[in-house]
Symmetry: C2
């Protein structure tokens, strides 16, 4: 298989962990006889510094021609005081919209060796394994008007969805549930929002098409509670953009291993952008100690979702688990025993396993 991949290192530890993903993908290519070509572009703060914009046209053009995109992370204190069109995260929002990456998938699964670092009691969190399917290109993030009014004495943002936009993400949620344990939780605020009422209608309409999936509706406030009190009750959660933003970040800390969590943002044809859930971690950037696992697992998601290379994805996931099982770990993981290693060594261990 021949694939062309755009690498967007971004800022902070993004620049370090992106190399780990590349090394791992090259090992996979060799082992399974694929040909992956790579091309690197700037996004976020790095792009602001070099081009005066967080998302240069050259980056968008390259991504549009790629089979998939890997992104490190964006942001850092250097750009925190910039006006909003010159902030690193604008690059992220822009590329999601430019590529129409409407479906954000965030799997959250506890690693046994890491559960002790969870803020939750082990008996509450053990066994949790959920996937958040978040709508990523609509809702309050992109609705218009979003503006000051009345001489700056008032302000509005707009939560807007077309029925089609809701349908395609709800379909994605059902399909994901079919491939997993067949349980879908649709999260909305249908007791208040008109958009949530339409959302709930769409879910009800689609039910018949997926008779093998058990569907449940949950209000977003109740979902925020149940994620903590009973995380194991969830399989797939599907929800709109802002609710998904909040709930997926909430869920990401449950298992005590945010440094291990990958994510995928997909277009309808399967092209996708893959990035770790963690941020650019400016405090540890440049020190060679960042955990590359989330980035590497994001590359595995790319193989699975964009290239349909399920075996290859599995090999990467097994490699990460096995290296962890052997006691190797990066500093972020709060493991007392075993051996603490840096980004390069961790990557090499994973590559060697492959």
């Amino acid at each position: 298989m021949k694939k062309h991949i755009v690498l967007l290192p971004g800022d902070g530890i993004g620049k370090e962990v992106i190399n780990s993903a590349k090394d791992v993908l090259q090992a996979i290519a060799e082992e399974f006889n694929h040909s992956f070509s790579f091309e690197t572009h700037e996004i976020g703060g790095a792009a602001i510094d070099q081009y005066g914009t967080p998302l240069p046209d050259s980056t968008v053009d390259a991504c549009k021609q790629a089979d998939a995109v890997l992104l490190g992370a964006v942001g850092g204190p250097k750009w925190d005081q910039n006006p909003s069109h010159l902030r690193p995260e604008r690059g992220l929002l822009g590329i999601r919209k430019a590529l129409d990456l409407y479906a954000n998938l965030r799997p959250i699964k506890g690693f046994k060796n890491l559960l002790h670092a969870s803020p939750l009691k082990e008996e509450v969190v053990a066994g949790s394994d959920l996937l958040i399917v978040r709508e990523l290109t609509g809702g309050l993030y992109f609705g218009t008007p979003s503006e000051r009014r009345d001489n700056g004495n008032a302000v509005v943002d707009t939560l807007s969805y077309t029925r089609k936009e809701i349908e395609r993400i709800v379909d994605k949620g059902f399909q994901a549930a079919q491939q997993r344990s067949g349980h879908l939780t649709s999260v909305d605020k249908a007791n208040v929002l008109e958009s949530s009422k339409m959302w709930r209608e769409v879910v009800e309409e689609k039910k018949a098409q997926y008779p093998d999936v058990v569907v449940e509706h949950l209000l977003v406030d109740a979902a925020a509670m149940k994620l903590i009190t009973n995380p194991t009750q969830f399989d797939v959660i599907v929800t709109e953009n802002l609710f998904g933003d909040i709930l997926s970040d909430e869920a990401s800390v449950l298992t005590g291993s945010i440094g291990m969590l990958p994510s995928a943002s997909l277009r309808e044809d399967g092209v996708g952008l893959y990035e770790p859930v963690h941020g650019s971690a400016p405090d540890i950037a440049g020190k060679g100690i960042a955990n590359p696992a989330a980035m590497i697992l994001s590359a595995a998601m790319m193989l699975r979702y964009s290239f349909d290379l399920n075996n290859e994805a599995k090999v990467i996931e097994d490699a990460v688990q096995s290296v962890l099982d052997s006691g190797f770990h990066t500093g972020d993981l709060q493991i007392a025993e075993g051996r603490q290693v840096g980004t390069t060594e961790m990557t090499k261990l994973i590559v060697d396993y492959i």
Copy 2:
């Protein structure tokens, strides 16, 4: 002191616990030589059944003439399939708006004897004591347009605030922080929403007026994480309506005692509506086993915030703590030792202490 209080029992266990609050207030009146008069009205499902609307005019009128309002809880499966204007929670949203109850205060403090029931590890949650100040009459809850478009093929909701609305709730947040540990966390999504940018500006402007308060800005997704990983870092959180809805429910399960949490919803002149955080609990309604503590503690908040009766409020709070310390508890509290009692006996114990 002479005060007139409207009681809105609502539905489910609301009907039971409201009597507990009344008993406790009568004991306080006797003990401290106050005169509290009471008047009961319907809201929610009970009002739908009796008047065909979740919020009859007679209820609104009575509340407008009261010095304060106590509300039990609204909702239940009986009305779950109703069209949205005939759902119990419309009554709640309606009375908040009709009385201009813009500031919702939810204190969350762990009870030592109950921390074992927390989903969090005791070392994570111990010592947490926070207050969420939620804007309650603006934002996505009441913004217009909120409607279907394009022949039902699209939908919008509107997040709208006037600068004045933001200013008054931010002031409330600062004032609350002054009365507590002097730390305010303002939660927004300023990297995406225009309304959040205005929110952040207002907070920055107000800072100078409250030099004794340390302010921090936090994005809502980060707040959802930190509430779990580090709840003790918070003192007062101030945020807009929907973020406050989600975060306050999330926070309510941290300490393992949602049956103990009161809330206040205030108007600028101090008139307020007080209700437990828990819902109408249809599964245990009518059995006489509901925990009246959250309702009774809501009455204590009424004495403090609407009547400025701080001593009396403290007596109620001490009474609840002391009865709990003596080993008495209702069934919801997951306590193995001590003696399990019902609503009436629990109330009587608290009244006797007073």
